[in-house]
Assembly symmetry: C2
Homo-oligomer: 241 residues x 2
C-alpha cells in the first residue's frame, strides 16, 4: 500500500526523498487555489516562476503576468493572486506566468518528484482520484508562510489524508496531525481559520470573500500537473457544484 | 503581552529570531525527559554535546557519559537515554555528558536565545511558572525526529500553550495547532501517541514503560537551564505527585 506523508514547509523538503513520489503542492491562500480557478476558467498553460522580474519577462512571449507579494498584487502585472480576478473571461485560452510569495517556491522545489499535482480544496476530489490512479507514495508539500507552518495548508493536507485513508497508509506524525486538525475543524473551516495569523493578515486586506471561496471543497474538476517547465490541466474544468 | 510560538523542527530555527527570547527545548522521547529525571535524581551539571566522540571525551573530566543513537544506548557509554537508568542513585552529585539524536541539537542550535529552558511533561508546571516570571517572548523548539515534525514534542508545546494562555498571546498557527492537538488528545495521551511513528519505533524496542513515564505531567519540580556550556538545575528536584 502506498503512503501519504505531509511536509509542513518547503524548508523541510531536503529531509524527504522525492524520487518515485507524487507531490501535491498546496498554497490554499491563495496561489494553488487561484491556479485551479484559472484552469477552470480555461487558461492554457501556467508558468510558475520564482522572481518578479522573470515573471514580467513572460509578457514578451504573449503571456498574461500575475504577481503577488505579501498578499497584494504587485505593480505592473496583469493579474494578482485573487481567484476572482481570473473570472472575467480574460484568461480563457491564454498562457499565464505567475509568481507568488510561497506557492511557486513549493512547486519549483519539488521538481525531482515523478509527478507534481496542484492541490486546493477547490479540486480536492479530482486530486484524490488522480493519486489513487497513480498509486505512487504521496508527499503533500505545504507552501506555508515564508517557510513557517500554516494552518490552511495543513488542513488541506488533512482533508486529502481523509479522502485517501482507505487507499494509502498514513502513519507519519505530520499526516496524523493534519488529519486530526482537519477532522476537528471541518464542520466550520472558515470560523476555525479566522484564528490563524495568515487569515487575519488577509482579512486586514479586505479579501474575506477570497478566503471563503478558497475553502470551498470540490468546486472544480481541474487537475493541474507539472510538465517540464509549466503547469497544464489534465481535466476539463467544469463546475460540479 | 509576551507571545508563545512553536518551532516544529530545528531545521526551521533559521526562520526565527532568538535574541531576547526564552527558548524551551523539548525532546519528550526521551532526551529532555531524561535530563529532567537526571536532575531530579541529583545530577550536578549536564553537558549536552553533538557528537559521540566529544561526549566520550568528557569521561576524562570525571563525567558520566550518556549516548543514544536511533533509540538505543550507544556502546562504550555509562548511560543510555532511558529515564529509568538514572534512578539507581548513581547520578547523584555527578556531572553527565549526554549526546542524543535530536534533543541535543535543539539545545545547541538555540544558544542565541536569552534563556534556554529544558522542557518535558515531567516538569511542565515548573517551566510554565519560570516563563511567566521571565516575561520574555517564548519559542518552543521541538527536537522532532531527524528534523521532521513529531507528535509528542508538539503535544508538549500544546500543553505549555494551554498552561500559559492567560499570560501569553498565542496567535501563531503552530501554537494554535499544537494547542488543539493537545486539547483533543490529553484525556489519553498514551493511547493517542501509540499511533505515532516514533512511539511505534520505541515500542518495538520494548520501552513502553519509558513512554508512559515521559508523558506524566508535573512529576518533578526541576528547572534545567542553559548556562554558558552546560545545563544546571535552578530548582530542588522534589517529586510533587
Amino acid at each position: 500500500m502506498a503512503s501519504i506523508d505531509v511536509c509542513f514547509s518547503p524548508e523541510l523538503l531536503h529531509l524527504y526523498s522525492l524520487e518515485g513520489k507524487a507531490v501535491v503542492a498546496v498554497d490554499i491562500l491563495r496561489a494553488t487555489s487561484t491556479m485551479v480557478t484559472a484552469f477552470a476558467e480555461g487558461a492554457a498553460n501556467i508558468f510558475p516562476v520564482m522572481e518578479l522580474e522573470e515573471c514580467l519577462s513572460f509578457a514578451q512571449r504573449g503571456c498574461l503576468t500575475a504577481a503577488e507579494r505579501n498578499g497584494i498584487k504587485a505593480e505592473g502585472f496583469d493579474l494578482g493572486n485573487s481567484p476572482f480576478s481570473y473570472m472575467d473571461g480574460a484568461v480563457k485560452g491564454r498562457d499565464i506566468a505567475i509568481t507568488t510569495t510561497n506557492g511557486t517556491r513549493a512547486i519549483r522545489l519539488s521538481e525531482k518528484a515523478d509527478e507534481i499535482v496542484i492541490g486546493a480544496f477547490l479540486n480536492l476530489q479530482t486530486v484524490a482520484d488522480h493519486l489513487i490512479t497513480l498509486g505512487l507514495d504521496v508527499l503533500v508539500v505545504c507552501a506555508g508562510w515564508k517557510g513557517q507552518f500554516n494552518l490552511e495548508d495543513t488542513l488541506f493536507a488533512g482533508a486529502l489524508v481523509e479522502r485517501l485513508q482507505k487507499h494509502f497508509s498514513y502513519e507519519y506524525d505530520s499526516s496524523l496531525a493534519a488529519l486530526h486538525l482537519y477532522q476537528n475543524s471541518k464542520a466550520n473551516l472558515v470560523d476555525y481559520l479566522r484564528q490563524s495569523s495568515h487569515v487575519r493578515r488577509l482579512e486586514r486586506l479586505e479579501i474575506f470573500k477570497d478566503i471563503e471561496f478558497c475553502l470551498r471543497h470540490d468546486a472544480y474538476n481541474v487537475l493541474p500537473v507539472w510538465r517540464q517547465d509549466r503547469l497544464i490541466n489534465l481535466k476539463v474544468g467544469e463546475l460540479t457544484n
